[in-house]
């Protein structure tokens, strides 16, 4: 393990360098590519911080899907970053302010209390009744279920917000940001061969997420990525935004979650409480339906507002 400090220092330097690159790069495209690399390196940092669940989410969502989203935006904007902005004097002032903020945060990091306060023993104590072995999944679905519910619900207003930006005459059409690429045989091949394996990986992440690192967000991100790949290769069309089946699937996950949560008032004495003995199957049920809804939401967020096709 004597290599570990060198690896940590190297990673930290790499992250800071990439952060500088993202801020300083001339072209939007270069900055976005830097951001995707940054996300992958950050995933390695999460592994070093023994947060494998977070590492997977960072790689799939932070680097992967966000990267695709931003690349698509960069392709629709002028290549060069626009000039202007505050003058030199103001920039120096802002820089001083930002260094101050960073220094204050660094001071906080250096003066964190010893021994570190932690909720981990509480979680470890209360995990067995849930029947789940991965503490992060246990926290997400049993102990802090209200957060998880609200965050899946927050994806729906985000999607409504994106759709609301459609031009009036485009309403009811298919989402337009993922225009299929002009037919390229290598992309088609990838979109024909990879998705079955991607589906298995996604299902495995959700299924194994109860006991090992993984979970619905990571699985849903992989499933959404496969869907986007198939759409970009032109092998399938996105549903119209008025499609009923798609809309029902979008709200199915949150609805089931809320229903089980409400049932908890009678069966376990509190909203979102899970009745003793049934916690594990209910958590698995919630994870499965939420995965479907979240995968659909993530894919549709990437697909952008509806647009008329020429």
């Amino acid at each position: 393990m004597s290599m570990a400090p060198a690896v940590d220092a190297g990673l930290a330097l790499l992250i800071l360098g990439l952060g500088l690159w993202i801020i300083a790069a001339r072209s939007n495209f270069a900055a976005v590519v830097g951001f995707m690399t940054y996300g992958l390196m950050l995933a390695l940092v999460w592994v070093r911080l023994t947060a494998v669940d977070v590492a997977m989410t960072e790689a799939a969502l932070g680097a992967g899907l966000t990267g695709v989203l931003l690349l698509g935006a960069a392709a629709r904007l002028p290549a060069e970053a626009p000039g202007g902005g505050p003058g030199a004097g103001l920039r120096v002032l802002v820089a001083v302010l930002c260094v101050g903020v960073a220094a204050a945060l660094a001071g906080v990091v250096l003066s964190l209390p010893e021994p570190a306060p932690s909720l981990a023993p509480l979680v470890a104590e209360n995990l067995p009744p849930t029947g789940v072995k991965n503490p992060v999944t246990g926290v997400l679905l049993a102990h802090r279920a209200i957060d998880t519910l609200l965050e899946t619900v927050v994806l729906i207003p985000a999607l409504i917000g994106v759709w609301a930006l459609a031009a009036d005459r485009a309403w009811g059409a298919r989402p337009g940001a993922l225009t299929p690429r002009p037919s390229s045989s290598s992309l088609t091949l990838l979109a024909q061969v990879l998705p079955p394996f991607g589906i298995l990986v996604g299902v495995h992440l959700v299924w194994a997420g109860a006991d090992e690192p993984g979970g619905k967000f990571q699985g849903a991100a992989v499933l959404a990525a496969m869907w986007v790949l198939v759409v970009m290769a032109g092998l399938a069309d996105l549903p119209k935004v008025t499609n009923r089946l798609m809309r029902y699937t979008l709200v199915l996950g949150p609805l089931v979650f809320v229903a089980i949560g409400l049932a908890g008032i009678w069966t376990a004495g509190a909203f979102l409480a899970l009745p003793a003995g049934y916690a594990k199957p209910l958590i698995v049920l919630i994870e499965v339906v939420l995965t479907l809804s979240v995968a659909l939401m993530l894919g549709l967020l990437l697909a952008g507002p509806p647009k008329e096709r020429a």
Partner: protein, 120 residues
């Protein structure tokens, strides 16, 4: 200095860096990127607190890697950050579609009609 503290300092620096970019960059896409940088710096601070909490427990023999509560919060945060970025990008693209501008500068439409490549 332990690797955990190092990553904590790294997170603090990223917040500062992102804040600078958010204020000083005229381009909206770059502001979105800078905002994501601030977010990841904050997440990293959460990660450091989670790791420290786990470290104290591992010393006590509890056999937990890290404090799962901050880790779960970071996963929640990553999903919300993605949703926010998606909305911001959609707003930006609509702005460009309507006005031809990709900055938040004063009303003077410097880039409309946009001569590609020329910087004002």
């Amino acid at each position: 200095m332990s690797g955990t503290t190092l990553f904590g300092l790294c997170g603090a620096a990223l917040v500062g860096l992102g804040l600078y970019g958010l204020i000083c960059h005229p381009g909206v896409l770059r502001k979105i990127l800078a905002f994501n940088l601030i977010g990841s710096g904050v997440f990293l601070l959460f990660g450091v607190i989670a790791k420290r909490g786990g470290g104290a427990l591992a010393a006590a023999g509890a056999g937990v890697d890290g404090d799962p509560v901050p880790q779960a919060l970071v996963i929640t945060g990553l999903v919300v950050a993605f949703a926010a970025t998606a909305i911001a990008v959609a707003l930006l693209l609509r702005l460009v579609e309507l006005g031809g501008r990709d900055t938040l500068e004063d009303e003077a439409p410097r880039r409309a009609p946009p001569p590609p490549g020329r910087r004002s």
